[in-house]
């Protein structure tokens, strides 16, 4: 019988879901620690304001890992556990996963190590994410402006309980991004969103890939244009 809420949740889930958790947890043992650890720390430092799969894809590309999907799956299962285990001890969580037959001994050791070493980042990441959600950026009307979020609370609880700000705890740089969408009938819609430095890296990667795709399709377009003129 699982002792943690996360364990119970997984035990009550569908068989398919459990099988997927097991398959993805197995991948933790197949990935080299120097690749896995930095990704996990980046997630822990920014979760919930992060895109773990984009981060994994970027890291896989930068490290030239042979199986990027394995990293993506491992990151996905780590994020799921990280998000749902709040307040529970890493040892208890891994013990539950082991007792459910979802985690091998090696996997349990790696997962415990990851969860324990990432734990100190949790509170700061949560309060930073909450700060991002307060109001709209001061320079929202200026495209591409860098917004500086000053943080006066160490924990999310302190912020939500309205503890009076006494000292500057941290400052976070975020980039205001505007995506102008041309809709039918010449209607322009501007969607604004905030990006941190990791998001900026995903965006650069996405644009680079899109450009590469276009470069590859250039010849195809030229030949179709020639045919059209002919």
């Amino acid at each position: 019988m699982p002792q943690t809420q996360l364990g119970q949740r997984i035990a009550e889930g569908s068989a398919n879901s459990r099988a997927e958790v097991k398959a993805d947890l197995d991948k933790l043992t197949k990935l080299p620690a120097p690749i896995l650890h930095p990704v996990v720390y980046k997630i822990a430092k920014t979760h919930p304001a992060c895109n773990p799969l984009e981060l994994a894809a970027l890291e896989a590309e930068q490290t030239g890992i042979a199986d990027p999907q394995a990293l993506s799956d491992a990151v996905s299962v780590f994020t799921y556990i990280w998000e749902n285990m709040d307040g529970e001890s890493p040892q208890a969580v891994t013990a539950d996963l082991e007792s459910l037959g979802l985690l091998s001994k090696d996997g349990a050791r790696i997962l415990t190590e990851l969860l324990v070493s990432a734990e100190p980042f949790r509170e700061t990441a949560k309060v930073e994410a909450s700060y991002l959600r307060i109001g709209s950026p001061l320079f929202a009307a200026i495209r591409g402006a860098v917004d500086l979020r000053l943080r006066f609370h160490k924990t999310e609880d302190a912020l939500t309980n309205g503890v009076p700000p006494a000292e500057l705890v941290g400052a976070q740089r975020v980039i205001m991004t505007n995506l102008t969408i041309n809709e039918p009938g010449n209607v322009e819609r501007v969607v604004s969103f905030l990006m941190d430095e990791y998001d900026l890296s995903y965006m650069k990667r996405f644009v680079k890939h899109m450009e590469r795709e276009l470069e590859l399709s250039k010849d195809l377009l030229k030949s179709s244009e020639r045919k059209g003129h002919g």
Binding site: R18, T79, I134, S136, V190
Partner: protein, 154 residues
Amino acid sequence: MAEDAYPPEYKEDQAAVGTVLRRRFRQIAPETARLFRYRQLKPEADYTAFKATVASAVEEIKLEMKVQHEQTRAEVQTVRRDVLAAIKASPAEYLTLICEFGSLFLLFSLTIRFILKIELVNTGFALFMLAAFAVYWAMARLKQESDKRQREDT
């Protein structure tokens, strides 16, 4: 800066400070209206559903960017095709456009040169080219006019 100098939408709502996490949308003019979206924090119970949610978190925006990029590209190609067709149909028109664009750039360079003291283009060369562009432009216009008259006569 005095507190009153800030527009009211940027000020903290004192009544609500510290009670709840607020998601305020700025009240601004419709022509500059923008939408702020935040990812909802809803822990997914099922792992398969969680994985799908995480995978789709940025897909919408990526797809939108791709569509917009393709649309802009298609528009640029259409314009390029039109310009090429126009150039082929009338070389005089092409020359006029080149002269107008060149003159505009040179005038801009000269303005920068005299106001900010930054030399983008050699001043003597810029003046010479301006005169040359004026001559070419006049010749092209003359050719266009004579072509027009010829067409009207026939």
